[in-house]
Symmetry: C2
Subunit: 408 residues, 2 copies
């Protein structure tokens, strides 16, 4: 029975959570850990009260039964209206919007419905850890196309086109191409021209475009967000979004999948997502009502999100500045989401890998980051710019002190 | 792009939900439907107030952040204590109990971590629809071992042993064997002797035993429930349970996975379930607190569940009697869960399949059942015995009237 596990289960790996056992042991021993590993806004900015109260109302009104597998109409309508208003996208609430247990479940559905072992997908690198693992546990073979850090995480779309052509010539079947925009972990926001080229490449090569837009309202420093759905009309594509980030409700576990197209492939995707939804009956019923209110109550939402984004900008800029003052790290300041992805100066440090860096930093300084290799960015670390500046400042001081101690 | 879908996505199929489009169209046209298709106790017995209020408290206390992937300690401890108290099972809350988005997600983890295309699993038939589909979407090849309806859904364990031997001789790799006990859809409760034989067969053949025990407190008519964990000490096994049925909180979407063993295989399973949990960050945070209270407040729970089980027994017996008075159907009265799985008298009916039966019954009488073939029980229908007797009585009258109209 030793080989009981499936061939690809070894890819079930999320670097963000991997230091949990060490953290727990340290906490049991009375140590305090500064956790900059997980992008959880609700830890520092309480989930808006108007959503919490909508949740309470739903519970007390008995909204605790099963509901439709694809989600309650109220929430699907709110999401459809939001994409129409913000991005002029027409996605029918009746058959083009699906509610999932976070975007995480949407990733399982995506890979289960599209990927046979050996199939390929383009994943841009650095990637969100679970986009990669979620593909590999289904036996997918990734084409990892790199963003160029030297050029501010620039994407060379000509090189992308060549990679896809080469993969196809070698007999590869490329099923989808996935962007996370704004990017986790780099904080880069894709410009319209690059996104347009990506859409063209998807179209020309018969590849489904997947756009994870869960940070779409968290943009700053002059960046403008463009939804893939604005440019991909007529090209089969799937949009992921959710309540965790823009709405600051991570613990609700509500994700959205939107498939606006009416073409044959989009129709097949819609039917199949619905079939997968039916397999797990439904998503948290009261939470769906809370999120419907979260989106529909635009006045409250605007107030909350604008204060939140201003604070994130302030903290991310502050942390970027401090990091770039250190001799041992350099970061491209983010313009979206709330992560910093600095590069460690390998020549100046005596630590062999970013994994070792993260583990020792935790043990020695009680500061928890995530290793960059977990995002396909070896030699980097990811930190979350959500805590107040005094916490961020002191953490970065400790990181710098740690680097000095381990420098050559 | 026509063949964009994965090879096995066609198996994503849940008969319970398949009439939804017709139902919605009928409801839009002003028709009232009696829904006996889905096992949702919260529709007829409100989710207990003490749990709803614990949920509200959690929300207002700001329990809306991400928490541990495997679940909050309070809930894992409550589950561990419950299995110790009821079944004398020692399962460490620290590393043997995992919280999932319902048992549905646990089924995805199970199949993803154990099944390579072509691997086999024993699934007893009739089965819970998703146990079958969830295995097949990962390319699994089922060994369907039948319960004998004529003998009150008796399981012939000698025949089971022979089937497994034959599969192994033919080169098959049998990864797991799954029982749903009490059974959905038949309401049968496995006796201790049969369960013991199943455990022995799992042990002798190096097969992981999976026991879905989500209805473990819903037993009646003199049946005694035995948990697989009571008999499988030393044999690698996984227990599924959750808040939906015993605790009457379907819309909370909280499932439990318990892996009590300390053997090598169990340790590998625990590590892998934890890795899969980490891929989706966590399960609804406030709901976990509500369910922890749901289990821990034994006084309130006992009061609720005993009233509930008495009502279920009364309704299931009533419905069984009515069905057995009809000339067109026969049912083995259930002793657990809350489903009736009558056999239709094919010789007397002019309808070709149970699918046609269910669809026409819905259209003509506004009564929604689930086709038995969705559970591997062709020629049967499943109905839920949860509504009050006047609703059940009138629905069964309409079913009988429908049969008469379509009899030969």
């Amino acid at each position: 029975m030793a080989d009981i596990l499936s061939k690809f289960s070894k890819y079930a790996d999320n670097a963000i959570e991997e230091e949990n056992p060490t953290v727990r042991a340290m906490e049991r021993a009375g140590k305090r850990i500064v956790k900059l590993n997980i992008g959880d806004p609700a830890r520092f900015f309480p989930t808006p009260k108007y959503m919490v109260e909508a949740y309470v109302r739903a519970l007390r009104e008995g909204k605790t039964t099963y509901v439709n597998p694809e989600g309650i109409p109220e929430l699907r309508e709110a999401i459809s209206a939001r994409y129409r208003r913000l991005y002029k996208v027409s996605a029918s609430p009746e058959d083009s919007v699906f509610i999932t247990h976070g975007v995480s479940e949407a990733l399982i559905f995506l890979n289960s419905m599209l990927v046979d072992p050996g199939n390929m997908a383009v994943i841009f690198k650095p990637y969100y850890a679970v986009c990669y693992s979620g593909f590999r546990i289904f036996g997918g073979v990734p084409i990892l196309q790199e963003y160029d850090e030297e050029r501010g995480w620039y994407l060379d779309t000509d090189a992308l086109e060549r990679r896809i052509q080469a993969a196809k010539r070698a007999g590869g079947r490329v099923k989808y191409m996935m962007v996370t925009n704004p990017s986790n972990p780099t904080g880069m926001v894709l410009d319209r021209k690059t996104l347009r080229s990506i859409v063209e490449i998807a179209k020309d090569n018969g590849i489904v475009l997947i756009s994870d837009e869960i940070y779409d309202e968290v943009v700053y420093n002059g960046a403008t967000f463009t939804s893939a759905s604005q440019l991909a009309k007529g090209v089969p594509h799937i949009i992921f979004n959710g309540a965790s980030k823009d709405l600051d409700a991570t613990g609700f576990r509500i994700g959205f999948t939107i498939i606006p197209g009416e073409d044959k492939v989009s129709m097949a995707l819609k039917k199949t997502v619905l079939d997968f939804c039916a397999l797990r009956l439904c998503v948290s019923t009261p939470a769906q009502y809370a999120v419907a209110e979260g989106i529909s109550n635009r006045k409250e939402h605007r107030k909350e999100v604008s204060a939140f984004v201003r604070a994130v900008e302030d903290r991310a800029d502050f942390a970027s500045r401090l990091i770039n003052e250190s001799e041992y790290m350099h970061v491209v300041p983010p313009r979206g989401a709330y992560y910093l992805f600095p590069k460690l100066d390998a020549k100046r440090l005596r630590l062999k890998t970013d994994r070792e860096f993260v583990h020792k930093l935790l043990e020695e300084e009680g500061v928890l980051l995530t290793r960059g290799s977990g995002f396909g960015g070896d030699g980097h670390v990811r930190l979350v710019a959500l805590p107040p500046k005094e916490i961020l400042g002191s953490a970065i001081d400790r990181i710098d002190r740690f680097c000095r101690r381990h420098s050559r």
